[in-house]
């Protein structure tokens, strides 16, 4: 089947969704996905961040679809034309969704372990506003302890349902779910119970925000100060293929390997994730590559950077010598005799 997204054409199999087709194509026309997760069944449709405009239904029925469609849930038709970046309606809706997701979000990125690898941060950088129009007090939830390995921060949750689907599909017994409804719906075990079984740690990896984080890594480091390495070990429970997040010789965190859409390549078990923090347990394969423009990559300078020259610097304190005494400027050193004036 042929589908055109933002003017680019691609051939895909019947049954492919618009989002999948866009991912096959790659590039800037891939809609953001906050809830859809290709490795899990029956995800998507909730966050509305991936809404796109279908400007032509198909070759057989050329009528445009009146509403914006969730690209993760809409399968392509032959000859369909989709507008993502090229549609002002889509851009406006995406801004709106970003704003909705942020009004009750605590914006506590400075103390959030997810910062730097957070999908909501990325969405906000692209589509967010600097100012909030939300004057009311933000919604908060009572903290709930779900065990000694996983930290639940309900205030940050965007209710993507990924962790619920993970527990349903990857682990052998779901003990948490979505309780309550409306803007007070929350991820909970209802009776404070530990989410604990061999694969429960995967909820951390699938969480798009900082609602579920690794307790063993809590406040240890900002993610961009860690150096990621691909590593593996023989594991009888899972593939054993992981990314180690190192600070010097110390393994501070172990995660599954994530692809360009931040989805895990393969799920890993809790033993690999939590119990092997010694480099001797791992065969290190080498550094893991990162997206060029990601926050994490900002600490991995691979090219020589130009020296930043600010021309105004020399002129800036001209005639204000009193101030120059107080301010040290390396490019314009303060001379001894100047102080005697």
């Amino acid at each position: 089947m042929k589908v055109i997204i933002d003017g680019h054409e691609i051939e895909v199999e019947p049954g492919t969704t618009i989002l999948q087709a866009a991912r096959m194509m790659g590039g800037p026309s891939v809609p953001p996905a906050m809830c859809y997760y290709s490795k899990l069944e029956d995800t998507g449709g909730n966050c509305r961040a991936c809404l796109v405009e279908v400007s032509k239904g198909s070759d057989a029925d050329e009528r445009p679809m009146p509403k914006l469609m969730a690209s993760c849930k809409t399968t392509v038709m032959d000859g369909m034309e989709v507008k993502n970046l090229s549609s002002p309606r889509v851009m406006e809706a995406r801004k709106a969704v970003t704003e909705f997701l942020l009004i009750n979000h605590p914006l506590d990125c400075p103390v959030c372990d997810q910062a730097g690898e957070c999908d909501l941060q990325n969405l906000s950088y692209q589509h967010g506003k600097e100012l909030t129009r939300f004057k009311e007090e933000k919604r908060t939830f009572e903290p709930e302890n779900i065990g000694d390995k996983i930290q639940l921060h309900m205030n940050r949750c965007i209710l993507c349902y990924r962790c619920v689907k993970t527990a349903e599909q990857i682990t052998d017994g779901r003990v948490h779910g979505v309780c309550g409804r409306g803007d007070h719906a929350q991820i909970s075990t209802y009776i404070t119970a530990a989410i604990d079984n061999d694969f429960s740690g995967n909820v951390i990896d699938v969480c798009p925000v900082g609602a579920l984080t690794d307790k063993t890594f809590r406040f240890k480091s900002r993610v961009w100060f860690n150096k990621p390495f691909n590593a593996h070990r023989d594991c009888d429970k899972c593939c054993g293929k992981t990314t180690l997040w190192m600070f010097g010789d110390e393994i501070q965190r172990v995660t599954a390997r994530k692809d360009v859409y931040h989805e895990v390549e393969e799920f890993i078990c809790n033993e690999c994730r939590f119990d092997h923090k010694d480099t001797a347990d791992w065969v290190v394969e080498g550094p893991r590559k990162f997206e060029k423009f990601s926050v994490i990559n900002q600490n991995n300078y691979t090219r020589k950077l130009d020296t930043v020259v600010i021309d105004t610097e020399k002129q800036i304190l001209k005639g204000r010598d009193q101030d120059r005494v107080k301010i040290s400027m390396t490019n314009v050193p303060f001379k001894e005799e100047e102080s005697k004036k």
């Binding site: 909730n46 809404l51 969730a70 969704v97 997701l101 009004i103 009750n104 004057k135 409306g182 719906a185």
Partner: protein, 452 residues
């Protein structure tokens, strides 16, 4: 007296019981259908009747039936939507409470037409006593041989059960209702697939409103063509209207589609005019989700035509100057009502009833409620009206199910037609502290104070 289809026997003493219902011609449509008609012939009659879904969307019922997937070979289901929860609507309850066998008869005839052998009536949990009435009526129908195996000696079998909800407006949305019937949270499903292909337990399913199904026996007995003669144009048949608010005689009325709004509000046969003869200020003709109409657009359309009780006339002028028939929840407001307060009340309802699944609705409905509360209690600012407009615009059309639209439309219409009243609340915060602020001092008398 106007033509009655649903309520013609409502005043017969004991019509609630099986015996009286049967003595008065009840279950005739089942006999006629099973003995003399094919399922497809019934669907054709319903198509010919032009009957439009009475739950709110107004989708042609026969057409909806024809979409059901008969090729897959999976069991099919008919589910009756008796989760009536739209503020202003209480007609289905009236039918089920007073003439329960009419619905059961409709369910049997309709299930036969769809080839469904297992059907359900999903009733809202708050209507618990009605649930019991229906449950007993179903037992009577089983005992009399109208349900169960080989009905009337034919090879058609049907099991019918009643299922109760537990307090969730969203379960009136057909896919949320199906989820709820499966014992889950009432989160609407993403469509497609539509229930006609994959509904209850993944089987092809049709979901119809109580009133829609209750019309089927008459259509089968009298033909679709006869039904289509009643009413006006594409608004065929009769319609139950739930009338409430500031009128002399609130209640459920069966009207022939096509009478004027004026007649409905002011005639003795129906609402009997305004309570205390105060002036009418606004009308919501189709339940809380539809746009509110200001006084000058109630009896006449913007074009100066008489406003009629039809799907077409009520929506004449689009959202700019019209509204919708919706579910027939007819709420009348006099000059003592505060539109801002009422809009906040609805916003609170939608925020409370949002399932919380998709972000625009979950966050947006709560946000609108908070802003409206601020304005209503005298804490609003001049930017708040535009903010509110912007929020509703960004919810509408961007959600999984129509609850987002339903929450957005009343806010939009209130601002569109009653902006001055919002401005009054912002300019005179001291005057709106008391919740009955327009009772002693109707807005009309102080409107001039608002500065533009």
């Amino acid at each position: 007296m106007a033509k009655k289809i649903l309520l013609d026997k409502i005043n017969i003493p004991g019509i609630k019981s099986y015996e009286v219902y049967r003595q008065n011609g009840g279950y005739a449509s089942v006999e006629k259908a099973i003995k003399t008609m094919t399922p497809d012939a019934i669907t054709e009659e319903v198509k010919a009747s032009g009957l439009r879904g009475r739950g709110g969307a107004g989708f042609p019922m026969g057409l909806k039936w024809s979409f059901i997937d008969k090729k897959s070979g999976k069991p099919r289901h008919l589910v009756c939507n008796a989760d009536e929860s739209e503020p202003g609507t209480f007609k289905d309850r009236y039918l089920m409470e007073h003439i329960p066998h009419l619905l059961i008869e409709g369910m049997i005839t309709s299930s036969y037409a769809l080839g469904a052998n297992l059907s359900y009536i999903y009733i809202r949990g708050e209507y618990m006593w009605v649930y019991k009435i229906i449950e007993r009526a179903i037992k009577e129908a089983y005992a009399a041989g109208w349900l169960g195996k080989n009905i009337l000696g034919s090879d058609y079998s049907l099991d019918l059960h009643v299922h109760c909800g537990a307090g969730a407006y969203i379960c009136g949305e057909e896919t949320a209702l199906i989820e709820s019937l499966e014992g889950k949270r009432g989160n609407p499903r993403i469509k497609p697939p539509f229930p006609a292909v994959s509904g209850l337990w993944g089987n092809p399913t049709v979901v119809n409103n109580v009133e829609s199904i209750s019309n089927v026996p008459w259509i089968v007995n009298n033909s679709g063509e006869e039904f289509a003669k009643i009413g006006l144009g594409r608004s065929t048949g009769t319609k139950l209207i739930s009338a409430s608010g500031h009128i002399k005689k609130p209640g459920v009325y069966e009207i022939e589609l096509g009478i004027t709004v004026d007649e409905f509000i002011n005639s003795e046969e129906y609402c009997g005019g305004m309570i205390d003869d105060r002036p009418i200020k606004a009308l919501i003709p189709g339940g809380s989700s539809v746009p509110i109409l200001p006084a000058h657009l109630i009896y006449k359309t913007a074009e100066g035509e008489d406003r009629l009780m039809t799907y077409e006339s009520l929506s004449e002028g689009g959202f700019a100057t019209g509204s919708m028939m919706g579910s027939g929840g007819f709420i009348v407001y006099n000059d003592t009502a505060c539109i801002v307060r009422n809009t906040w009340n609805f916003a609170k309802f939608y925020a409370h009833e949002s399932c919380g699944q998709c972000s625009p609705c979950r966050e947006g409905t709560g946000w609108m409620e908070k802003v409206l509360y601020r304005i209503e209690t005298g804490h609003g600012t001049s930017e708040d009206i535009d903010l509110l407009w912007d929020i509703q615009r960004k919810i509408e059309g961007n959600t999984i199910c129509p609850l987002g639209d339903a929450a957005a439309w009343p806010v939009a219409a209130a601002i569109r037609h009653f902006r001055e009243e919002f401005e009054y609340h912002i300019q005179f915060p001291e005057k709106v502290k008391n919740r009955n602020h327009f009772v002693d001092e109707p807005f009309e008398s102080i409107k001039h104070l608002v500065t533009k």
